[in-house]
Amino acid sequence: MNYFTVLITLLRDRENFVQEIHHQARLKTKITALLISSSIFLAIYGGIIGAFASPLQVFASAIKLPALYLITLIICLPTLYFFNAFFGSKQTIGQNLALLLTAISITAVLLFSFAPVTLFFLITIRNYQFFILLNVLIFALTGFIGISYLYQIMRPESEQLELASVPLMEHQAEHDFVVVDADQKPKKSHKNLAPEVKTRTNILRFWLGLYAFVGCQLAWTLRPFFGAPGQAFELFRPREGNFYLSVIQSLIEILMN
């Protein structure tokens, strides 16, 4: 299907793909394709981790895992867009969404690539703790790669470079009959842009922290993803405490024992 072709294009030629996003080429197609393909990959991996507990958990986790990634993105997107716009970014919200989806799709594909490994251990080892640990490692690794990639492509420097890399004449020739926005021209010198760029880089770092913060709490709210063995199926666990309190409590328990 066409959506997977877009994803394969992203995997094979990431640089060109990102450049196209910076120039708003086929943006809607990219957003739709990345949304659909990443949801499918995440749903498959969610189904596999849910299979550890019960068939009902398979369906629950297949919906929950894409929801975790995509809803976190939707919650955090306005913060990134408005902060960046306030500090001089020319990117549209569609471009921001496409870039974020690029990173999520890469994470989803990497998770999907681990699916046979997870499935293998699911079949051969029925150890809950091991399965949890294995998945924590997989999620951490894929998440780290996805976030590192996002940091690379979202840096204001890369936006400036991408926009400056295409000569204006070529840009005009491509958009015959379309009035080219004069603001799109990189008219400021790099020297003048430096403080702006620095601020936006800091915003990006802050936003990545926020994304992780929101993601952890949403994961806590939507749990269980694995479903503990021997326990009855639970759609959602009671809404008590939060992720961070739980981590602190666990640490205290470990230290007290």
Binding site: R26, I36, S39, V178, E234
Partner: protein, 237 residues
Amino acid sequence: MQSDLKALKIDEGELETLSGLDVNDLFVGGIFGGTYRPSVWRDSKKLFFFCLTEISVFVLILVFTLPIGFILTQNPTPGMGEIQRALQFLTINLSVAGVLMLGWNFYLWNKQKSLASVAKLLDEVDKYNEVIKAVEIIDKLATVGHLPANLINREEVLEALRVTRESLVCALMTEKILRQHKSFIARRHELFANIENNLLALRTLEVNSQANEYGRLLNEALEIGMSVYKEVKKLQN
């Protein structure tokens, strides 16, 4: 594909620039905010992929409406089991997703009216690209010796395709301008005159080449030219 044919082909990127809309085999203007192409109903393969897209969108809506079900099932009635709670959650989520899905399909259907002209022109572009594909196949057959090279008046066909391409480009631009600026635009008369001239050129080429192997392809090019002419005339009115 030979470079001259490659240059003649109108690809999706160029179509986006010309029409100002995201275009693929199934949708014009993208899945969200656009509409489906009428050719979806005529081609079983496209219909199959369209159905797959509908399912994918439904799953996507289900994912995004998860918070609604989550919030509404947070205070279960006492004595309600986990399975019953899951069923309640599923009922709420499926209902919300179903309603949104119906809304989206209604939007697609409604949007089709406003994008009918561009959809028709895109179908003509598809036909044009198919003609190029046919020329490519004949070229390959001629290369391996299945067809005598002198049987093919290749230059004349390429000329016809060039003229057709120009007409299609003009038509797509006219449609885009009229869609984006519905008020009067002086340039449309110039573009329309250009399409009329191209149609005349195509007719002349067809008369000259009726007897040779490429007659059928020229005829197809002429048919595309006629459709484009009619569509632009409709837009003019």
